[in-house]
Amino acid sequence: MGKITGAQMLIKCLKEEGVEVIFGFPGGVVIPIYDAIFDSDIRHILVRHEQGAVHAADGYARATGKVGVCLATSGPGATNLITGIANAYMDSVPVVAITGQVATDLIGTDAFQEADITGITAPITKHNYLIQDIKDLPVIIKEAFHIASTGRPGPVLIDIPVDISKGMIEDNIKVELKLEGYKPTYIGNPRQILSAARGIYESKKPVIFAGGGIVSSGASDILTEFAHTLNIPVITTLIGKGAFSDADELSVGMAGMHGTKPANLSFTGTDMIIAVGVRFDDRVTGKLSEFAKNSLVIHIDIDPAEIGKNVKVDIPIVGDAKSVLTDLLGRYKELVEKKGEPDRKEWLDYVMALKKQCAFKPGNEPESLKPGYIIRKIWEATGGNAIICTEVGQNQMWAAQYFKCLKPRTFISSGGLGTMGFGLPAAIGAKVGCPGKTVIDIAGDGSIQMNSQELATAVLNKIPVKIMILNNGYLGLVRQWQELFWDKRYSHTDIVDSVDFVKLIEAYGGVGFRVTKKSEVESTIKKALEIDNVVMVDFRIEREENVYPMVPAGYPIDQMIECE
């Protein structure tokens, strides 16, 4: 058998894992890897900043369910990945980040562009590797993809010293996975599932609380069947948006600081929370000691460490959402067969009345340019059939509130880390993964400036994402806090007229529009979607529009500030 370089072996292993695309940026110690990419049919997308590469890999992974891959050089290339790795970690996204490292014999000497990236990323990766022996390369790649994509998904980093990429290795990638310390539990404990089924059967006011775990386990269909069989309302998290159709009659939308009123009030009224694939973030629970005080909690999660971490759990079930929900539904149906359908009409009526009361009523809309109107028009123009990416801030909350997601993997947003600058590169990744879909980044004027260099990546690689900027001239969400809780002292949140966004996108070779009037919204969105290029629309929305409802930080989840 012949020998190949470590870099060639890396590419071979990536192909073996089914990798179609790498988002990356070159540098000294990854030249051998780039040289191998040059001869390979794996698509490489050259970004303009490594943060763009990792967010794109993240967006690709969220949109497709496959592992996203990014590549960066040592030192500053690697450290530029950090925000994106932390972002993927917080939202449990399967990403494999490959970094170059200085040669093995230079490690630890503060060599040029040396950074201890495995040390730095230990707290923000599911696992990481520094390859020290070329013989380990194939098995490490295999392990990395396995770990990133199974159990609770997450980012894995592989640091490859340059002498290993340049070194020679037998051209044979037959390796065996042997991970003694890694055995995720997929099947839920039958006894726990039975007691959960009984608990649900006995409960008078149950709700389902669905998170990102539903999406990553592919459990949306079974969740829908489950909810309809039980006939109970479904609340989602931000990351769980799309896990259950927002258009479903049983959906009450997203809970939390900017959650819907029916969702937040359901948490107060319920006597049984069936939480699946959620982690009870403080943005969702509000004041923890008041959260769901009168309720039992069933918590289903593949990560045992999530269970009981924040909220006291009565019936814990460790396992894969799809598998557990399937089993739980089976047990529940048996109970119904034996004892008859339980009566929960009163509860359902109560929740549905809340929902009706809060539903959007057309006809009383103001003439000024409002974000809710714009997002509803985007929904109408796409028939809800688009992948929505968001930046962070008010734009993100408005997108979550007003865009009715119908399917999983159609709402891509930085939840746990709340990373401004995520949306554009994530949209690029999503569009690369789903070229047939319309991909829209609902952006803020602040966030978009954090990774706007990736407009070049999108235009040059013909990745026609659409960027809809809800431009309020403010770091709006921070301004809103300053308005409500800091006496309107707008310290350093006014960013009005930072840049002419139309000229900006034109400078990159894309197409730009500016919208200042309500009457222009619909036609401009239509044009933007028709043009086969990157389009940026600068919507000049009312500057001091706030996101409501809002639960102030540290308050019980049912204490919402509503519209002024």
């Binding site: 495995t118 230990a122 707290p123 991970l179 310390g181 045992p304 460490a305 009981g308």
Partner: protein, 162 residues
């Protein structure tokens, strides 16, 4: 229930593993009282014995987080009433002609060993459980302890169970 807990962690004997484990403790706000690490009967596996002061709920959380580390194979919280625990301590204590005999007597009572004799000091080696070590430390204190080093606790559960 707050207090000291002994956890025994079997890990793959690979570089970087100890850093990942100790990092996890500090990140989650835990103070390690002592930590001892060394290879087991299987050279590919190391045992880390950690004594940590924590409230029971947060200890559970840290154990779960430890389990998430890919290189961690097995974790046991050891029940203090059903283990053999040992720690080795070296103590250098002031000693001159007038005190040497008394100190040797203490060493004898505790079945400790003298490992170095100098003009003005004695170095003592003692193994045992925490109570025994605390005992000798208190008795030696009045003479002036110059230096003290401890290995940290190691422990095994009793009986043939692994």
């Amino acid at each position: 229930m707050s207090g000291n807990h002994i956890i025994s962690v079997l890990v793959e004997n690979k570089s970087g593993v100890l850093a990942k484990i100790s990092g996890l403790f500090s990140r989650r706000g835990f103070n390690i009282e002592s930590l001892a690490v060394g290879p087991t009967e299987d050279e590919k596996i190391s045992r880390i014995t950690i004594v940590v002061n924590a409230e029971i709920h947060s200890l559970e959380q840290v154990v779960k987080q430890l389990y998430k580390l890919i290189n961690v194979i097995k974790i046991q919280e050891l029940d203090p009433s059903n283990i053999v625990e040992r720690e080795l301590v070296l103590i250098k204590v002031n000693a001159d002609n007038s005190t040497r005999a008394e100190i040797l007597e203490i060493v004898d009572i505790f079945r400790a060993n003298i490992v170095d004799v100098a003009k003005k000091s004695l170095s003592i080696e003692i193994t045992g459980n925490s109570r025994k070590i605390q005992g000798i430390e208190e008795l030696l204190q009045p003479y002036g302890i110059l230096e003290l080093v401890r290995t940290g606790k190691i422990a095994l559960s009793r009986g043939s169970k692994k």
